[in-house]
């Protein structure tokens, strides 16, 4: 091992999911160092062990990581360029597979389908859409409509085009390369949840930190 001081650059991630019971330094993010030998050794430093029956979730402060590294390698300076708290979750490989997940997808799909159907019907009922259409038809054509007119048809087509433009995909195919609004919301939601979990762990003193 060289006696010269080297700097190790670390880019910690906000949330990592592991399958193993042990958490190593290499799991919490990406890192680089001019000394390949030290880099390889640092990566295999153990940070935490998930015991049986304990919560499968642990927040690790970057200070703890730096302290661990500098304890074993006193001549390494750690520069963190990423997150300052890392949420580590242990997941079971086969948890999300099989019929249970299928049932969940069907369940949420049914809620989405009937829920939005109800929402748009309630909205139309609220604004009295059929009366509005009758009035508009009379104003434009000078006579009352017999049944349904082009107005209802074009409204429905407009609604469909609007939704498809909004959600940016049709039949499983993206129209442009942008993420869809729900995908964006999904990432925002995930990041909010991670932040809340980290804050809670900090407040309750359950974070793996230096003292």
């Amino acid at each position: 091992m060289s006696t010269n001081n080297v700097t190790l650059y670390l880019k910690a991630e906000q949330n990592v999911e592991l399958q193993s019971e042990d958490v190593y330094v290499k799991d919490i993010g990406k890192m680089t160092c001019s000394d390949e030998h030290i880099l390889a050794k640092v990566k295999t430093l153990k940070l935490h062990h998930f015991k049986e029956g304990e919560p499968k979730r642990q927040v690790i402060s970057i200070l703890k990581v730096i302290a661990e590294i500098e304890k074993t390698f006193p001549n390494v300076t750690v520069e963190n360029l990423g997150e300052i708290d890392v949420l580590v979750e242990q997941i079971n490989v086969n948890r999300h597979k099989g019929p249970v997940q299928m049932v969940k997808i069907v369940f949420v799909s049914l809620i989405s389908f009937f829920g939005t159907a109800f929402t748009i019907m309630a909205f139309h009922n609220d604004i009295g859409i059929n009366e509005v259409f009758t009035k508009v038809y009379e104003m434009v054509m000078g006579q009352s409509s017999d049944g349904y007119s082009i107005l209802e048809l074009s409204y429905s087509i407009g609604l469909a085009v609007g939704i498809i433009t909004f959600f940016n995909h049709i039949g499983g195919r993206r129209i442009t390369k942008d993420p869809t609004p729900i995908e964006v919301e999904m990432r925002v939601y995930e990041s909010d949840v991670n932040k809340a979990l980290i804050e809670t762990a900090d407040r309750e003193g359950k974070m793996l930190d230096v003292h």
Partner: protein, 164 residues
Amino acid sequence: MFIRQIFLALLGASAGFIVSGGVFTVLISVGLIPRFAGKMHIARHIFALEEMVVLGTLAGDFFSVFSDYGKLGEWVVSNQLFGRGETEAVWQAIGNVLLILFGIFSGIFVGCLALAIAEMLNTIPIFARRIGFRHGLGLAILAVALGKLTGSLIYFTQAVYLYG
């Protein structure tokens, strides 16, 4: 006459376009579907959920705008689809199943939507902070749910919708 029809078509299409934008902005900004997907760990299948949102809206649009063509039960019974004389009984059963499906799932959706909107306006955190409320948030949520249930039952059983 023809020009007027074109005008109506343009009017209708623009109305539909703007309405879908408005309705879905609200729906997206309360973040209901990401939350469902997050809770159920099915974020990878978010495409399927979006398709269901699109299809659900179009189905709801059809049944409320073209309600005269949406009389499914009347059509089934008048065509005697499940055999002469038996169709009424069979459709009674199928119709009830459809109604239960619609009721339960749209109920879950509206329940989540109501609380999600309340949460988006930060009603609960602000109120909890004002009165120094620290423990028993679960109980408060349960009370909200029971209150909604009671209110809904009173609304339907006492026919509140008749007098506004």
